[in-house]
Subunit: 167 residues, 2 copies
């Protein structure tokens, strides 16, 4: 296996081939995620919101009228609690989210999406969906499904070895 030269190797201008396909695969996932994140970012930023803020809004919309405690929001992201608190701070400052201390358990703080948040999401939904299609435009429908399956398998492997850990 002398001179195989993948796209990544060209991108990073590295002459030596990857030690293993696994190594190349990991790097490929990381790089591709970066590309997709940028793309997504460029779609939501014009609306003065970040991807993470967008995610929180979608989660709260999903939670509906009953709201969701801060840490439950964190669970649905990859994130640790401290990040969520500050994310919510900013969303609240923008009037997209409302927080109320839960009367039944006063340790918790319930988050709710505001009507303004909902209308922002409504505008973004279509944009993002079109964006995602464009982002994977290089793939045929069947390839997209195959990709989903492979990625699921990777994450399943990790869930097994590390337990817990959602998003």
């Amino acid at each position: 296996m002398g001179q195989r030269r993948s796209a990544i190797q060209r991108e990073i201008r590295q002459t030596r081939p990857f030690a293993t396909p696994e190594q190349e695969g990991v790097l490929g996932v990381l790089r591709t995620a970066d590309v997709l994140r940028r793309h997504l970012s460029s779609l939501v930023e014009p609306h003065d919101i970040t991807i993470q803020q967008f995610n929180v809004l979608r989660i709260l919309r999903g939670a509906g009228a009953s709201g969701l405690p801060t840490l439950d929001v964190a669970d649905r992201m990859i994130e640790q609690a401290p990040g969520i608190t500050r994310l919510m701070d900013r969303l609240e400052a923008k009037g997209l989210v409302r927080r109320v201390r839960c009367p039944r358990d006063r340790r918790q703080v319930l988050g709710y999406i505001t009507p303004r948040g909902l209308s922002l999401l409504a505008r973004l939904d279509a944009v993002v969906e079109r964006g995602d299609s464009a982002a994977l435009g290089g793939l045929k429908r069947g390839e997209a499904l195959k990709l989903i399956r492979l990625l699921d398998a990777i994450r399943a492997g990790h869930a097994r070895s590390q337990s817990s850990n959602s998003k």
Copy 2:
């Protein structure tokens, strides 16, 4: 197609199916990258280094004795210049990297990996390679290759639409 329910949908406890496989694919890449990043992070952190710092070191090692200007390092990452400057600041503070203003073009600053940086990398190489194999352990060899191909295709699609942009 009524009740298909993928791993991601279960993970985020979302009842509604994804609008499109493309949307699910994009989210899958992002989530998987997060998992892998954490994994990788846990491997390098014990050595008091972050993933980004590790990447810079590998790039500088690849550059060899002739060193590499700051912006060329940035090109090989996804990153903008400002981030690299500060990354190099920290690496220099740790004695893993050395910076010299280029005499031929005094606007440039050349970065070099130090012997100490090289020995750190030497220790990490094996760890990371083992880690990558474990990370993609859920995949058979052929599947890993297929994954690499699909990810390459996604990034190729973006390179076409947006030109420039390396990482």
